[in-house]
Symmetry: C2
Subunit: 364 residues, 2 copies
DNA sequence: CTGTTAGCGCGTTCAG
DNA sequence: CTGAACGCGCTAACAG
C-alpha cells in the first residue's frame, strides 16, 4: 500500500500581481540613473562610448534594482535567442546522460541554454520538436537524429542554424557529425578476444538500420577476417537495443552445439539481459565464458568480476560536438564561407577489467 | 569525402540576407493572402472574427510558405515564452533520468519546452541558472533545489513564475513540492526485513543535510523502535551519495564482531559500491546476507540474485510535479487566488525480488 | 468582418 | 558623449 499525504499550509506566500510584475526593465534603470534608455543600454552592454561616470551610475542603478535584461526582447532585436536545441532519442543510457551533461555544461559556460527534446526515436516526434525549436529561434542544434527527417534538418540548416549530428548521421552527409569509431572499436574488441585465443566469439549487436549496428558488425567481421577465422552466422545476433534482445540472444548462443568461448555484446541495452542470463545459468565469467561489453556504465564496475568494455568516451563526443557547433556559430557571426561538413570519429578504447580470459581448452 | 550542396532559390520569397533568412514572417503570409497583418494573425490564431474564406486563404498561404510564428516576438507581446526551467542537481541516476524524461514529454504535450540546467549541487551554479532562466522569461520552474538559494527562488516566484520543487524541499515551505515518502519507505523496507526475522540490519543512507538522508534515517529508526529492537549506532553509515560511501560502509559493516544479517542500502549511489564489495568478498546473497536497496535501476535486475528495492516511483513524482505546475499556470491565467503551497508525498513501494531471505540461524 | 495604430523591451541608427 | 526616433515580429485595441 502506498501512502499519499497531502498537507495544506496556511502561509503568507508572495503577494499576487498580474504577472511579470517586479521584473525591472531597462527603462526603470534609466530613470533611476537619470539617463535615457539608450544610454543605459550602452552603459550596460559596453557597446558605445559612454563616460565612466554614467556607466557607474547606470550599473549601480541596475544592480540595486536587480535588473535582468529580457532575453525575449533582446533576442527579437538581435536575432539571437541564446538557445540551443538538443534533440536526442533517449536518455536512459549512461552514454546519453554523459552527453547531455557535458553539452549542457559547456554551452552554459558560453551563455547558451539548451532546450531538451527526447524523441523516443519517433520520426513524428522528432519532426514536431524540430518545428518547435525553430519557432523558438534556436541558434544551433545538436541531435541524435532518427535519420528520417532529412528535409526538415535541411530546413533548419537553411534557416541559418548550424546543425551537429552526434552518434548517428544521415545517409547524405550534409551536416557536421561526431560519431563513435564503431568499426574500429568492434574490431579492436574482437581482436582482443582473438589474441587471447578465442575462435568462437558470440556477437550481439544493434539493428542494421542504425549507424552503430552496421559499423560494429563490420568491425567484428573485419577482425575475424584478418585473423583468418571463418565467419559463423549462428554466432551473430542482431536486434533492437533492448534487454530482451540480450536475453534471447544470450540463451540462443549458450545452446549452440559448438559452444562459444567468448561473448562480445556490442549492444549496450542488451548487456543487462546478457549478464542476467549468465548469472541465472551460473556461467562463470571468465572461466567458462569471456564477456566483453560496449559503452561503459557504472553497473559494469559494481559486479564481480567487473566487466571489461569498449568505452566510446561520450564526454569526448560531447566536447567535439560543442566545439563544432561553436565554430559554426562564430563563423556565422563573421564571414560566411560555408565550409564542407566535418565528420569526426572519436576513438573507442578498451578498458580491461576482469571478465575476459583465455579459453579453458586453449591448447594451440 | 563529404559533399555539401547549397541550394539557391530564385524565388520571390525574401532575398538572401545575413541570418535567419528564409524565415517567413506573418507579413509575408499576409501579403500573399492579400490581407493585413492583423487579419492574418487573427486567421491563424482563431482569436477574432474572420470570414471563413479569408481564413482558408491565409492558412493556405501560411502553409505554402511554411510559415512558423516567431516565439520570441509572440512571447514579447504575450508575456509568455512557452519555456519551463528544469534545474536538477544531476542526471546520473535512473530516478532523475526518468524524471527528466517524463517531465519533458508531458510538458511538450502542452506545448511547453524545457530548458535543462544541471547544477551539480553547486549553490553558485544554481544561482546563475536561476538568473538566466528568469532572463529567458520562463513561465514555470521545476527544480531539485540545493536548498541554499531560497531568496532567489522567492524572487522567481514573486516574478509570477510558479515553482515546483521535487525530491527535495526548502526549509521554509513556500513552494509546491513533490517528495518521496522517504520516512515511510525506509520504515516499510526495514519492517520487511524485520518481519523476515532480521535483528541486526545494517543501514547506509545519505547525508543529514538532505531531505532524503534525514527522513530515511528517521524511517529506519522508527521501524526498529516499533519492533522493539535496540538501535545500534555501529550499524548506521551516513555519507555522501557516492560509490565510495558504499564501499567503505559495506566493508566496515562486514567486519563487525556481531555480524549483520541484512543490509539496507538507502543511498542509491552507494549501492554500486556495496554490491561490488559483496561480490568481491563472495558474500552469498541472500543466504549469508539479505540486501535491500533504494530507488530502482535496470542494473538491479540484471544480476543474480536480482536485487529487491524500495521503488520511489519517479514517473509518478514527475506526473504530480507537472500537474501542480499546470494547475498554477492555469490559475495564473484566470483568477489569482494564491493557494497555499501543496506538499505531495508519492508513496514508495517494495519490489520483492531475490535478494532478501530470513537469516540462517532463525530459530525463533 | 477588416485595416490602422500602438506598443511588448531592447539595441541602434542619427542628430546634436 | 548623449537623447530621440525607429524597428525586430507579433497581437490587441480601436475604428471603420
Amino acid at each position: 500500500m502506498s501512502t499519499k499525504r497531502i498537507e495544506h499550509r496556511m502561509q503568507v506566500g508572495p503577494a499576487r500581481e498580474a504577472k511579470g510584475t517586479l521584473l525591472i526593465k531597462l527603462e526603470d534603470v534609466a530613470q533611476m540613473a537619470g539617463v535615457s534608455v539608450s544610454t543605459a543600454s550602452r552603459a550596460l552592454t559596453g557597446k558605445g562610448q559612454v563616460s565612466k561616470q554614467t556607466v557607474k551610475r547606470v550599473q549601480r542603478a541596475a544592480a540595486s534594482l536587480g535588473y535582468q535584461p529580457n532575453e525575449l526582447a533582446r533576442g527579437l532585436k538581435m536575432r539571437s535567442s541564446r538557445l540551443i536545441g538538443l534533440a536526442v532519442h533517449n536518455i536512459f543510457n549512461p552514454t546519453y546522460q554523459c552527453l547531455a551533461q557535458v553539452i549542457q555544461e559547456r554551452l552554459a559556460r558560453s551563455n547558451y541554454q539548451i532546450i531538451l527534446c527526447i524523441t523516443n526515436d519517433s520520426v513524428e516526434q522528432e519532426a514536431l520538436y524540430l518545428e518547435t525549436l525553430l519557432n523558438h529561434r534556436i541558434e544551433g542544434l545538436i541531435a541524435v537524429p532518427t535519420g528520417s527527417n532529412v528535409e526538415l534538418f535541411k530546413r533548419v540548416s537553411a534557416a541559418g542554424v548550424p546543425v551537429v549530428t552526434i552518434i548517428r548521421r544521415h545517409r547524405e552527409d550534409i551536416f557536421d557529425a561526431v560519431l563513435q569509431a564503431d568499426t574500429g572499436g568492434a574490431a579492436q574488441g574482437t581482436e582482443y578476444l582473438i589474441r587471447m585465443g578465442h575462435r568462437r566469439i558470440g556477437f550481439i549487436v544493434g539493428p542494421e538500420d542504425t549507424t552503430s549496428g552496421r559499423e560494429r558488425l563490420a568491425g567484428y567481421k573485419q577482425a575475424l577476417g584478418e585473423a583468418g577465422i571463418e565467419l559463423d552466422p549462428a554466432l551473430i545476433h542482431q536486434g533492437p537495443y533492448s534487454v530482451e534482445t540480450g536475453i534471447e540472444s544470450c540463451r540462443a548462443l549458450l545452446q549452440l552445439e559448438q559452444p562459444i568461448t567468448a561473448l562480445f555484446c556490442a549492444n549496450h541495452e542488451a548487456s543487462g539481459g546478457v549478464l542476467r542470463v549468465l548469472s541465472e545459468q551460473k556461467v562463470s565469467i571468465p572461466q567458462e565464458l569471456s564477456v566483453l561489453c560496449y559503452e561503459d556504465s557504472p553497473a559494469f564496475v559494481s559486479r564481480h568480476p567487473s566487466i571489461s568494455v569498449m568505452d566510446n568516451d561520450p564526454a569526448a563526443i560531447a566536447e567535439y560536438a560543442v566545439d563544432l557547433l561553436m565554430r559554426a556559430l562564430q563563423r556565422e557571426a563573421g564571414d560566411p564561407p560555408a565550409l564542407a561538413p566535418r565528420e569526426l570519429r572519436v576513438g573507442t578504447r578498451l578498458i580491461v577489467r576482469g571478465s575476459c580470459a583465455p579459453p579453458k581448452k586453449s591448447k594451440e
